[in-house]
Symmetry: C2
Subunit: 344 residues, 2 copies
DNA sequence: CTGTTAGCGCTTTCAA
DNA sequence: TTGAAAGCGCTAACAG
């Protein structure tokens, strides 16, 4: 049986109320009582039941963070940023992993509500996440969407500039002489995929290169294997691309695997660029030419927006924060710059 | 204001009890009542308050997972495995990140207790985590320790065979002709660091190579920068190592950075091996020679052990599971095997 | 400074 | 099949 407040009170020879006051650091407790209560707490290993206190106070001191995949280095950084800010503000972060699965997302969303988190940070699985968010609104739980906008939703949002970023990557490939540029993307139900495809098209249009639909292949973002298979389709074209733009840092692993199987060396036989870095990998071997988004900042700013709402010091208007990405040229695009970024 | 059961009951024209029965899938509810209640729940977007139900039932349907760093690919996989098994068993996973910080670990531990999780999976920060675990015992909360044993603690444990793994890596380096082998490790308060150092020593002894303490440098495991600085010390020795053994996959990034700064090419000028893979990186560019531990299995088995305890179908005896690691030779050790594993 | 009373939202128990 | 009463562990509001 778990230790309860009453047991602590008995042991300390006071009422439950006094124990409660000690725990909540109320000043109105005599030195003697406080000492005895603290001793009893230590001896018994008492941990206050937040279900009970939360029930009354409507405060659990927790915020929920829901992401498709903590294993994705991008989301990992988002989470780290969020946790850092939340912790400093006295909140604890509870993390949920949806695997990009709508049902699981819905489940965890309700879970978080059920546990009475005070607010939520969500990287939605896609546009279809919208109905799930209605539950949050109905229950008056503030939340901030991260990374992916949701068509038709108008809440707070922190995202990158995917259109501009993709355009920049493609312009770079074009400048290097590429004309057949393939793209491995994910479902268009995800806004970043839509936006990056648009950036791709814009860059092509600006260079008067005709858009060829067969150069666009779709794969699930979470799954390296799917990206691999999609890439194989590209490489099997009669007129295969000389460069590939991967929609993100997970898909790019599949692209590289497919290329390696075919004996294609990067960048000699195939140029490769993508969105989002692979944190540890890029430090270990700086190789991929990428648009690096400030993932950690996505997390810190989103948390800040949420904390504002929790503090009630915010208007009803939605706030949208768009963070620019950095273009980092390394080897995989074939531009032959020094390996070490610092040497640039 | 959040939607409550009473509101649903009023709207459906029944008592709260009937709503409760519908939610908990009791069969003793008339068809008509059930339909009306379900309609009311949907209209209102009602989500049952688990703080309240958990308060009574002592069941929250959640298990807590506490790790030093979700960004570490090894722990990420552990978490994924745990979540998969937990989810299938009807449990939800709540994740906490301690950054290897004892205070934070303690805080999250109490948090999890406070939220009344039914059990915990813990990758402890180190031996000093032991006092924190007493709180769990006092409150009768089952838990399983993962990856790192804790001196003096005797609960369920899932870990790798660090001694044998390290010995294998060092034997390999010795076979390649190395005699000056450095090791970048972390605090000996972490059992895996202790064990890997022991494996290192055993391999040296077996080859009758004298152990030189100055070849062992210590760094915080979480921090790439610290590993970098530690490596610099090794490279500054009058008689620097020709090979380095990194205690894990995070430290190895710092080692590589330091080597690159010095203009040392791996493996030409310096051989490099380590424990644990860098998931995406290794698929993208198979380069590091490593002992790969079955991280996901650490998570699934630990969860299984925990679920057993939760089901109460287990004796009081502790259970220890030791999982072997795979030795994967790639390029960084200088053994010149084909890049592609499949080609072996 | 300390204790008592009431009740958070829900489920258990029991009676109808 | 349904509801009323009691209470999970805690704290707000009050009284002393």
């Amino acid at each position: 049986m778990r230790v309860t407040m009453r047991q602590v009170a008995e042991r300390a020879g006071v009422s439950a109320m006094t124990v409660s006051r000690v725990i909540n650091e109320s000043l109105r407790v005599s030195e003697g009582a406080r000492t005895r209560v603290e001793a009893a707490i230590a001896e018994l290993g008492y941990v206050p039941n937040r279900l009970a206190s939360g029930l009354i106070r409507r405060k659990t001191g927790a915020i929920g963070v829901i992401v498709p995949d903590v294993a994705n280095p991008f989301f990992t950084l988002v989470v780290r940023g969020a946790e850092e800010v939340a912790w400093r503000a006295g909140y604890h972060v509870i993390l949920c992993n949806t695997q990009g699965d709508l049902e699981r997302e819905r489940g965890y969303l309700e879970d978080m509500l059920a546990f009475q988190v005070e607010g939520l940070l969500i990287v939605p699985a896609g546009d279809q996440s919208r109905p799930s968010l209605r539950v949050l609104k109905k229950n008056d739980v503030p939340f901030v969407i991260i990374d992916r906008s949701i068509a038709g939703h108008d809440g707070d949002l922190v995202q990158g500039d995917s259109v501009a970023g993709a355009r920049r990557l493609i312009e770079h490939l074009i400048a290097l002489g590429h004309r057949h540029i393939g793209m491995v993307t994910e479902t268009s139900a995800v806004s970043t995929a839509r936006d990056r495809l648009q950036g791709y098209k814009e860059a092509l249009a600006a260079a008067r290169i005709q858009f060829r639909p067969e150069l666009i292949v779709e794969a699930s973002a979470i799954d390296v294997g799917a990206a691999h298979d999609a890439t194989v389709k590209l490489l099997d074209l009669l007129d295969p691309p000389t460069a590939i733009f991967s929609v993100n840092n997970i898909a790019v692993v599949g692209v590289a695997e497919a290329a390696r199987e075919r004996g294609l060396a990067i960048p000699r036989d195939l140029a490769l660029v993508c969105f989002d870095d692979i944190e540890h990998a890029s430090r270990f071997l700086p190789f991929l030419t990428v648009m690096v988004q400030p993932a950690e900042t996505f997390g810190t700013i989103a948390t800040q927006l949420l904390l504002d709402r929790l503090a009630g010091q915010v208007s009803e208007r939605r706030r949208i924060v768009v963070l620019p990405a950095d273009f980092i040229v390394r080897e995989s695009c074939g531009a032959h710059v020094p390996v070490d970024d610092a040497a640039a």
